[in-house]
């Protein structure tokens, strides 16, 4: 692997710039993209960096094409990625569906903006449902929701590895705030941290004779018979479920004796963390739970936290109208804990908002 960073280096930059550097450090070969705010600077920085490191870039005619070209490049054995947001994410659901069907290791960075439709170019957490379960399939995807620039860097690198290891389309779900804000992080070459980078490999056109020296590569997104598709889906579903425990990631803090557990993801979890500390200082037993993977969801971990704490309330805080809430409820079906919510679709949430809500509940 080519060393990009050298000695671990502190940096102060935007989230979009962080994405570009992380893709470079992870050994990405090429980006396909189409402009949309607030992800544009991923493309801008990548196009500045790529020629210096002999990497590629193609601006396609739209997001459908950007998604499909990414699907094509990974089949040719190139570590390819794309980035999009909002209506672009909607358009990309078709190629993402193909990536699910054909088990293509596509990495996509999503910087959520307000919706529906063009909504705002600013910020939201309204692309949770779309990114986890969009498309006409079963949501066989891996979705990391980041909260800091350090995590953007870490999970972009990890995302490529996970995609190529398990061959499910993988997403780093950010938002307009993370895309545009500047904050410090440390950049590094992954192998210097003991992270083994999985080398991309061609999925088609591989050497050897089918049936003699190798199995056929059956990358298929259309079937003649219902039963054929059914068989494949059942097999893939079982595989997805089997690997889920290895993939789920979460954070839980102050939950052991909590009366109320605040559930949030992404950038909102920063406010939740602050809120919990302030509430604790005021004698209110609040806990913090954050799914880092939204797909697969840390279901068992959340159930355990609820059981161990004996908390009576969950408060789900999100910059959307119930997308994380639906995801959470379906995962913890049967729990009797009361679920309250703080829905602020399309706007930021600060510690004050959460504290006020908690105090209105208990």
């Amino acid at each position: 692997m080519e060393k990009i960073i050298g000695e671990p280096k502190k940096a102060f930059m935007t989230g979009n710039e962080t994405v570009a550097w992380a893709c470079l450090a992870a050994g990405a070969d090429i980006m396909f993209g189409y402009p949309i705010t607030p992800q544009n600077e991923v493309m801008h920085y990548w196009t500045r960096l790529a020629p210096k490191y002999n990497r590629g870039f193609l601006q396609t005619e739209d997001e459908l094409s950007a998604g499909f070209t990414t699907c094509g490049a990974v089949q040719a054995g190139k570590k390819a990625f794309t980035a999009t947001a909002g209506p672009g994410n909607v358009l990309m659901q078709e190629p993402f569906g193909m990536a699910e069907a054909m088990r293509l290791p596509v990495l996509s960075i999503i910087q959520q903006r307000g919706g529906p439709s063009s909504g705002t170019v600013v910020y939201s957490q309204q692309e949770v449902t779309l990114t986890t379960y969009g498309g006409n399939g079963e949501g066989h995807r891996i979705v990391y929701s980041t909260a800091t620039h350090q995590e953007i860097y870490d999970y972009v690198i990890k995302g490529f590895n996970i995609a190529w290891k398990y061959r499910f389309p993988t997403f780093v779900l950010g938002d307009g705030y993370q895309a545009k804000m500047r904050e410090p992080l440390e950049m590094y070459d992954p192998e210097d941290k003991g992270i083994e980078i999985i080398k991309p490999y061609p999925l088609i056109g591989i050497p050897g004779n089918i049936g003699e020296s190798r199995e056929p590569q059956h990358l298929c997104n259309i079937y003649s018979l219902e039963e054929e598709l059914y068989e494949v889906l059942m097999k893939v579903s079982a595989e997805y479920e089997a690997i889920s425990p290895e993939i789920v990631e979460f954070e839980a803090r102050y939950c052991e004796d909590a009366d109320i557990i605040i559930i949030s993801h992404g950038v909102v979890s920063r406010a939740a963390d602050d809120a919990v500390k302030i509430l604790r200082a005021q004698g209110i037993k609040a806990g913090y739970f954050r799914p880092i993977t939204l797909r697969p969801f840390p279901q068992q971990q959340l159930r355990d936290v609820i059981a161990q704490s004996g908390a009576e309330h969950l408060l789900i805080a999100e910059s959307a109208y119930g997308q994380l809430e639906r995801l959470t409820k379906q995962e913890i079906y049967g729990e009797t804990v009361k679920i309250d919510n703080l829905f602020m679709p399309g706007v930021g949430i600060i510690d004050y908002d959460i504290i006020k809500k908690v105090k209105s509940i208990i």
Partner: protein
Amino acid sequence: MSLIRIALAGEGGQGVQSVAEILTEAAYNENQQTIYIPNFGLEQRGGVSIAFIQFSDKRIGAPKFNKADVVIALSGRAVGRTAGYSDENTLFVYDSGFDFDKEDLPQQAKKIIAIPAVDTANQKLHPKVFNIIIMGAVIGLTNVVSFEAAKEALEHKLAYKFEKDPSLRELNFKAMEIGKQMAEKSLQEEVDNND
């Protein structure tokens, strides 16, 4: 230093975002925790541009905030647009060089002061360094970064311009110094809400 939140607002093109970039870069170089987020919308230019900046010695949470410790409004429209970020703990600063409806000033503020940055830039220095005067003023008002660190960050940001025309260095540093003094003087004068 505990958390300090600053909302800096002006017309697009006044250089508000550059000031935020330089100040946060300086703070980062001084090993502070800092976050800066621009507001951004559909318009390519024009409209009120706001920079939300936070400095702290501890990890900073949410990137935006509802109420600022210091609001600096650099145009008539920016005053009305940012009044909502002011509460009883906020130092609200505006430029005395433009006319606006005084009713747009915030209902709540710890102190409201006016500084003559536009006039000073136009008459004593150069209109182009207006934003650098403001940067000096932010330092004078808050001490969020040292003057030296700000100078270094400014040097870093404008190195290519200084190389072409070394006199610009002097001009920019002078603007910063004047801005700082202007702010310190305004604070001393204790012009408050009731005046």
